[in-house]
Symmetry: C2
C-alpha cells in the first residue's frame, strides 16, 4: 500500500482539561517520526479555525517548549463549542484540500467524536482520502468504548481532595455542606468525592448523580437523618441532577436559561443549584449552618493536582492516535483498555461507538441511590492516584 | 522567680485553615519539654468546650499520630464562633481554676485574640495567675502587628493556582470570568490572584478588594474595556466589596442576611455575588460568555497545595507561643517579623495590638484601584512558594 503523503492537522474541541495538552504534544512528537507527514498544523479554536484557515505550524516548534505546553492546563490551541453540519463540513474540506491535509486529529469529547464521524463520512462521499482520528478527552468520563477518559482522573483528584479538606473543615465547624460538581449526564466526577472518606462518619455522606432521579423531599429528609446521626452532613451533588420527568433541578432557580450551540443547558458558571439546595435544607430541617459551594471551572483547570496516571495516559492517547493513523487506511477513536491492576492498552474503536454517545455509571457502581459501591472505588482509585494521609485527632477524654 | 506549675489548655477558634494543626502540634510538642506543665488539655470547639469541660488529654498522645494530625486540614480540636462576654469568662475561670489551668493558648484570628484579651483581663481582676497567649491564624492575613499570618500563604497559594488554571481555560474558550475570593475587610487573599499572571495579557486583569469602594458602573465599564483589548477578561473579586457608603455589594442580592455571633454578615457559602456580577456584565456589555465562580470553603481547606513556608511558620508560632509562656509572667500574641529575603523571627506583642483589630492592605500595595503593585508581589511571593511553569503555545502562523 502506497503511503498517504500530506499534512497533518490537529485541533482541540469542547471543554479544556488540565492534561489535554499532553495529548496534543504526544501527537505532535509522534508525527515527527513519519516522512509521509509533510507538516503538522494546529487549528486555532477547534473546527472554527479550519473555516478561517487560522492555522499555526507546529512542525518545528522546539521540543522543550512543547513539554512546557504539555504540562499547562487549558487547550493551548484554543477550543470551540461549534458542531459542524454538512455545509460547515463542506467548507472544511475546501480548506483541507487546499492545504493537502490528509491526517486529521480532533481531541475532545463525544461532540468532537461526532464531528470526526461527520467529517469522515463527508470525506468518503467526495472520495477525499483523509484519516480521521478522535483523541478522547473529558472530565465527565462519559465516553463509551473506553475504560475511562483522559482528563477525568485529574478532575476526579481535584474533587476528591476538595471533599477531603471540606470533611475536616466541616468536622471542626459542624453543619451541612453541599458541594456541586460538574457532570451533566454522568455522575462519575461527583462520585469521585467518595475517595475523601476514610471512615464511615466521614463525608461525603450522600452522593447525588444524574443516573438517579432526584427528589427534593427525599433529599432534605436524608440530610436531616445524617445530621441527626453525626451532627453534620456533607453532600456531593452533580450539576445535572434532574427530577423523574428529566427536568434539571438547576433550571428551577435560574432566571435565565442559556443554551450553547449544542442545545445543552448551561449548568456551570453560576451558583444557583448549590444555593437552592442550601435554602431548601434550611427551610425544611431547621438546621442553621448550611453552606453550599459550586466547584465550577477549577475542576477542569486547577494547576497542581494533576493525577500522574492521567497525565501519562493523556500523552499516550495522542501518541497512539498518530501510530494508528499511520498503520493503514483507518479512522476511529482511541480507547483505553484496562488490563490487570493497574496497566492499560490502547486500541482504535469505531467512531460511531463514541460519536454523540454518552456513557453513564453502571448500576453496579452504586450501593444505593445516594452512595457508590466498592466496585466503583476500585475502578476509580488508580485513576486518581494516592492521596496524602489525613487523620482525625484521637485523644482520651478528660 | 518560682515556676508557675499547672496544666496547659489549648484551643482553636474561628475559621479553620490547612495549617492550623501545625500550630497545635508545635505547641503540644514544645510543652512536653517543661516540668512545670502537669498536663496538656485540648478544649473541644474552642472556648465553648471550656464551659462544657469538654477536654481531651493531649499529654501522652503518640508523636507520630500528632504529626499526621499536623498535616491534616481543619481544626482538629474543633472550633467555634463563640465570643465570650464577662459572664462567659467567669464561667471559664471556674472551670480553669477547678482544673488548675495556668497556661492558656488560643489559636485564631482577631476575634480569638480579643477573647484572649478579655480572658487575660478577667484573670488579672480576680488575681488568678494565668498566662494567656494568642497564636495567630487566618487566611485573610488581616492581623495587625505581624508581617503576615499563618494560614494565609496556603490559601493564597490555592487562589494563585486557581487563577493560573482559569487563565489558561479562559484563553482557550474566551469570555469573562469572575472569581469571588474570601475576605471581608482585607483584600490580601484576592490580591494573591496576581501571581497567576505571567504576562500582561494574562488574567486576572482586574482585582477588586474591600480596600477600595466598588462602583458597579465602573466595574462593567472596566470589564468591557479589557474584553475589547484582549478578547477576554478575568476578574478577581473579594466577597467583602462594598459601595462608597460601606454597603456590601453581596447583600444586594441575598434574600436572607444571616448574622453570626460576631455580627458579621455571612458572605461565604453562597454564590450570590458571583452570579450578580455575571448578570450585570451580560446585561450591560452584551458579552455572551460570562461565568462566575465562588471559590468558597476550598480556599481554606483544600488538601494538596499547602505552602511549605506557611506550614513551617504555623508550626513555629505554636512552638514559640509555649516558649514565650515559659519565659516569665507574660501574655501576648505571637507575631512574625520578616527579616532579609527570606527569613523570619518571632516575637511576643501586646494582645491589644491584635484583639478585634483588622489590618488592611496598605496603599503602596496598590498600583491602581484594580491592580496591585510590584511591592505587594514581592511581599507575597515567598509566602506562597514557587509555582510550576505554565506557558502559552508559541508557534508561527501558517
Amino acid at each position: 500500500m502506497p503511503k498517504l503523503k500530506g499534512k497533518m492537522l490537529i485541533a482541540q474541541g469542547g471543554g479544556p482539561t488540565v492534561v489535554i495538552n499532553q495529548s496534543l504534544v504526544g501527537a505532535i512528537l509522534e508525527a515527527r517520526k513519519y516522512d509521509e507527514i509533510d507538516a503538522v498544523y494546529g487549528s486555532r479554536h477547534g473546527v472554527s479555525g479550519i473555516l478561517k484557515e487560522d492555522f499555526v505550524d507546529l512542525s518545528n516548534v522546539d521540543e522543550k517548549h512543547l513539554e512546557s505546553v504539555a504540562s499547562t492546563p487549558g487547550s493551548s490551541l484554543g477550543t470551540t463549542r461549534d458542531k459542524p453540519d454538512q455545509e460547515y463540513c463542506e467548507k472544511m474540506f475546501e480548506v483541507m484540500q487546499k492545504h493537502n491535509i490528509r491526517y486529521f486529529f480532533y481531541i475532545g469529547g463525544n461532540d468532537s467524536a461526532d464531528t470526526c464521524r461527520i467529517v469522515n463520512e463527508e470525506a468518503k462521499k467526495v472520495g477525499y482520502e483523509l484519516r480521521v482520528i478522535h483523541i478522547p478527552k473529558t472530565i465527565d468520563n462519559d465516553l463509551p468504548g473506553t475504560d475511562h477518559c483522559p482528563g477525568f482522573g485529574s478532575a476526579a483528584r481535584y474533587v476528591a481532595l476538595a471533599f477531603r479538606g471540606v470533611n475536616f473543615d466541616n468536622a471542626a465547624l459542624p453543619g451541612v455542606y453541599i458541594g456541586v460538581v460538574m457532570g451533566r449526564h454522568a455522575g462519575f466526577l461527583t462520585a469521585a468525592s467518595v475517595l475523601a472518606k476514610t471512615k464511615e462518619s466521614d463525608g461525603p455522606h450522600l452522593i447525588y448523580t444524574p443516573e438517579k432521579n432526584f427528589d427534593i423531599h427525599h433529599f432534605t429528609h436524608a440530610v436531616k437523618e445524617i445530621y441527626e446521626k453525626y451532627g453534620r452532613c456533607i453532600v456531593a451533588v452533580s450539576e445535572g441532577i434532574h427530577d423523574k420527568d428529566g427536568a434539571p433541578i438547576a433550571t428551577k432557580l435560574m432566571k435565565q436559561i442559556e443554551h450553547d450551540a449544542h442545545g445543552n443547558v448551561q449548568l456551570s458558571g453560576n451558583g444557583a443549584l448549590a444555593d437552592l439546595l442550601s435554602e431548601r435544607v434550611k427551610d425544611h430541617t431547621g438546621i442553621s449552618r448550611v453552606r453550599g459551594d459550586t466547584f465550577g471551572y477549577l475542576q477542569r483547570s486547577f494547576v497542581g493536582c494533576v493525577s500522574s496516571i492521567d497525565s501519562n495516559e493523556a500523552r499516550e492517547v495522542g501518541h497512539h492516535a498518530v501510530e494508528f493513523a499511520m498503520s493503514g487506511d483507518v479512522d476511529g477513536s482511541v480507547a483505553i483498555k484496562r488490563k490487570s491492576e493497574y496497566s492499560v492498552g490502547y486500541e482504535l474503536i469505531d467512531l460511531s461507538i463514541v460519536a454523540a454517545q454518552t456513557k453513564i455509571m453502571p448500576e453496579d457502581f452504586f450501593e444505593s441511590d445516594t452512595m457508590v459501591s466498592e466496585k466503583f472505588i476500585q475502578y476509580i482509585k488508580p485513576l486518581v492516584g494516592d492521596l496524602d494521609e489525613t487523620i482525625h485527632l484521637d485523644a482520651p477524654k478528660v
